[in-house]
Subunit: 630 residues, 2 copies
């Protein structure tokens, strides 16, 4: 097999590959992080490069329009190396990989912050400053006993860490600091463990990270444990996406040689990148970070811990671990203080993970007397129904469309994303972007508005097809697809039109259908009716905006009294943050995970019929959506 050199611009990196290697794989091997949420299937259209020199074999893609094709734009994943080549990432691709980790607005809605106050501030990491008396000939208490004695009464039950490193240099630390030290303690199972001893009084700074680890999206927050303040939030596409869009493909990849290592370093890389970015932005020291608490689906947590997830993939779908012991962050290559810990919220099963337990905690589902519904719209749409007596949880394969992945102009809910969209009677488009900058794409809440408006204005039919007969310069045909233009290239920050196509709508329709039909199936399963539900929490990575009215209009959510709905943003991240800030909250997750029964939708006889009936806007049975007038 012949070998060729691929040179990447503007990075200036090169790599030798064998003939026929695709450029996406070559870039990945060269250490360039490329956003390719479809996993190199050629369907997301994100990995765009221009071939400057050399010979390639490429598949033409409908995702590359004529203008781009003329500029030499190809999809890296669909382009094979046939000689020495030089390629340049497009401006759009550059945005993707230069800003893999984005600053995000606070996801947190009022409901959750109010609940956070219910739990007293008692963070998992605490610091105690001690001014000890130096030993004398008459007081030969050992250094460690001296510290333990001083801590008594000031903290609860104490346990010595099994990590030897924590006491190895104790003697020097004490003497260099003139016996004035700060003890860093981690709470665990009713006792506190000494993590570290710092010279002098360092109680002024006590920071930690909360994470939500999703299949498509990873979100992280830097938290001040002294006040509960959120110092910053970051959001990124999960770097594992290059190995597969959904958890099934990832689990299969994990069982291939070297697969686990790659998946693990992908998501750990996400975590470390966010930590690094937030540390720098807030000008704080890495050494001051002693904990992360993460909520995530079962597969993600297994992969972070490098535990074989294959049990999750095969009947009867049992995870190796559901309540994870806290482990050393260093053991996981998570770059905080090397003596720090990483804790993971417990999950229930393959499809109801710690992210949902975290959401239940954040919304207080397990404390309600009334029947409550929690719908978390992510790559899997997870649904929990219940109250303080019982809970049933399930998941629908929604796909990552509402996370902005797999769509022509989809993006995360970060700066530049269209999050509110209105189409007026003249079919002119008005939109608001996150951070009020020129638009770069459309996020989940933008798509919900967009579909609702297209349906209302007749731009799209109930079947989800763009109306070919509408007279508007915004509607055009490209190959066999129709597309609707929201913003022309000159109005955007990406020098390309921001559009939605028939294919995108089809994708979104399947997502909304999967979620709606799952909600109905789970309610039916327990012999209840949607009218029995007294409170509905909607969670997901929608930034700080989601239009419930429009969600109902397109048939994503049931048509019930609007006042029982509450949009809570990223409830998984909120629950992780609450667990970090309060031991009571952390301990409560243990009870929650044990009280949830898992329901397998695929095994429900009526589910497939419900799903098929939901593949219409708003629904095949229009009687279910009495308030929707078309």
């Amino acid at each position: 097999m012949r070998e060729f050199t691929v040179k990447f611009h503007p990075q200036g990196k090169s790599i030798r590959v064998t003939q026929g290697t695709d450029i996406l794989s070559a870039a990945t091997r060269a250490g360039i992080v490329v956003s390719a949420p479809c996993g190199g299937e050629g369907v997301c259209g994100k990995c765009r490069v221009i071939v400057d020199k050399g010979s390639v074999k490429t598949e033409s893609s409908r995702l590359v329009d004529d203008a781009d094709r003329k500029r030499g734009v190809v999809l890296a994943c669909q382009t094979l190396v046939e000689s020495d080549v030089e390629v340049t990432f497009t401006k759009e691709s550059l945005e993707a990989h230069e800003h893999l980790c984005h600053e995000a607005e606070d996801f947190t809605k009022g409901v959750i912050l109010k609940r956070e106050n219910k739990f007293p501030l008692s963070p998992l990491i605490s610091k105690v400053y001690l001014e000890l008396t130096a030993p004398t000939a008459d007081d030969g208490t050992s250094d460690l006993d001296r510290i333990m004695d001083a801590l008594k009464g000031r903290v609860g039950a104490l346990r010595l860490s099994t990590r030897l490193t924590n006491i190895k240099h104790l003697s020097e630390v004490l003497r260099e600091s003139d016996f004035k030290i700060t003890v860093v303690l981690a709470y665990r199972e009713g006792a506190q463990e000494i993590l570290s001893l710092e010279p002098g009084d360092t109680t002024g700074s006590n920071l930690a990270f909360a994470f939500d680890i999703g299949t498509t999206t990873v979100a992280g927050q830097l938290i001040d444990l002294k006040t509960g303040t959120i110092l910053g939030t970051r959001i990124a596409f999960n770097a594992q996406a290059v190995y597969g869009a959904d958890i099934i493909t990832r689990m299969i990849y994990a069982s291939e040689p070297g697969g686990m290592a790659k998946l693990n370093s992908g998501v750990v890389g996400n975590i470390n990148e966010m930590i690094d970015d937030l540390i720098k932005a807030n000008k704080v020291n890495l050494g001051d970070i002693y904990a992360i608490v993460a909520a995530g689906n079962m597969t993600m947590i297994h992969l972070i811990l490098k535990i074989d997830p294959s049990g999750l993939r095969k009947a009867p779908y049992v995870s190796t671990v559901s309540a994870f012991p806290p482990v050393s962050a260093a053991e996981l290559a998570i770059e905080i203080n090397p003596r720090g810990i990483a804790a993971f919220l417990p999950g229930v099963s393959t499809y109801v993970g710690g992210d949902i337990v975290s959401g239940i905690l954040a919304c207080g589902v397990a404390e309600n007397d009334d029947l409550t519904l929690l719908v978390d719209i992510g790559t899997n749409g997870e649904i929990v129904l219940g109250n303080r007596e019982w809970m049933i949880g399930s998941a629908a394969s929604a796909g990552p469309a509402f996370e902005g992945s797999g769509l022509t102009c989809g993006m995360k809910a970060v700066s530049g994303a269209m999050q509110r969209i209105i189409i007026d009677a003249n079919l002119d488009v008005k939109f608001e972007t996150i951070s009020h900058v020129a638009p770069k794409g459309i996020c989940g809440s933008g798509y919900i508005d967009l579909l609702s408006q297209m349906l209302k204005r007749g731009v799209m039919g109930k079947d989800g097809k763009i109306n070919r007969d509408t007279a508007s310069g915004r509607i055009r045909r490209v190959d066999n697809n129709y597309e609707f233009v929201l913003a022309f290239a000159s109005e955007t920050a990406i020098d390309r039109d921001i559009i939605i196509r028939d294919d995108d709508i089809d994708n979104l329709k399947r997502s909304k259908g999967a979620i709606y039909s799952a909600i109905i199936s789970i309610i039916n399963k327990v012999g209840k009716d949607i009218t029995d539900v007294k409170k509905i929490y909607i969670a997901g990575g929608f930034g700080n905006y989601l239009n419930i009215e429009n969600s109902i209009f397109i048939g994503l959510l049931p048509d019930v009294e609007r006042s029982i709905y509450e949009f809570v943003g990223n409830s998984s991240l909120a629950g992780a943050r609450m667990s970090l800030l309060s031991r009571d909250a952390f301990n409560a997750t243990e009870g929650i995970h044990k009280n949830i029964t898992y329901m397998d939708l695929a095994a429900e006889p009526g589910y497939m019929d419900e799903y098929i009936a939901a593949l219409f806007f708003p629904h095949t049975e229009i009687g279910r959506f009495p308030s929707v007038r078309l």
Copy 2:
């Protein structure tokens, strides 16, 4: 500087060294373990080699007699390389390094075994066999929760290990063993931690090691945790001895570059060698060993844990840690099951370590109403006086003479050591060796008998000098030294005469004087008299024999009613074993170490006078030994 090659026989190893390097250092660097308890000072006479070829510069030594000198025997530590040389270790030296780790008889005396029964058998490591039901579609409990649920009720409070490795392959282990597994649990601070999961029923084997780690001597036992049976005992000279005979030299060496690493690997090597030897002798699997419990002096434990011991050496002599957290054996490079733990009994101060706490536990000092004395005769003679109300501990620099080190024919209490010696009226010598084989040398209890008999028969005067006027073929002059022959070369297993010299007696006299004066000083310190003491336990590495009458006769022990004395052997090892076999015993050491006050003999005004007065057989003030008639 010129370089030369030194070749060692019979090992066949070679090494390049610079001119002037001593042969002991060269051998050590070549990876040959040489017994040199004096640390290369030229005073123990153990490192004997014959120079076969080449040129050396050597110091003549009184420890090499004429016959040996003619054979070309030199002390390796006193011999410098001046050309390429070849050397052969003598038969005696070979014995020393081929059998660094010796099989030893059971040290345990009745008193301790009787006490061991007071503590219920509840070993630190326990195993529970579980036959679990496999998960089904209706029972999706995670693998780990399934195990935790099954353990509930069968064991007390449970804690998950923070070591991730223990659950990493849980899923495979469960399935490969058809859900029949054995859970290995370690007790710690009131809860049990899951160490490991083994396929099938492995409860048939549950083994562990107890260790006594002394400055001069290391002793280890393989214990069956199911029954408390001792499966074998090993004893060796501490391999650190080559870096210094006492703990002060070792602490200084630890602060030199690379010193800590060498001291650490020396003693860890001792431990691993004993484990390996006992594992093989008992045909058991290393994987079945999940714990070691070690009692040792503070310096030794600091060095095993690689904690800087410098605080122990400088006023006010405070240790970094006195109650050591159990750590992973693997972290210490101790070769048992890699998931196993290593626990260390707590100590009090530089000179009253975990070995003494262990002895107090073994003898029950802290449970007695009456005033009790514990005397542990080792490199430091440690003394504890007290009862259930209070305890005071101190240490005398006894030196390693009673451990058989630093004496012409001294050896450990192992096979071939003369342990009982009688000199009859004709000055003929009758002796009994351990294991009843031809003699190789004299151990501590042999020396006590020997001194007592020499004193009684007038072979030695009260000043400790061999009587030059005695007419006997056993007494002879060599250089300026007189010596007494116990066994002629033909009677021995080492082809050399077994003797005692004036120098040896002087050494023993200082040891016995240090111990006796420490006993008296500590009793005086608390305003008591020796007659107030109702029970005296004598501990030390004397094998299973120590003649109390003879010990009093030479002035090592106070002249009181014999019935209050009890010889308990290696009480440090016994306490470690008890702590391994009973959680109550293990927990009791925590209370003991906190209840001991340390007394610094060096700071006692009367101590030096006491010591000087004790440098006589039995004592300068003969009135103190009314029962001794000379």
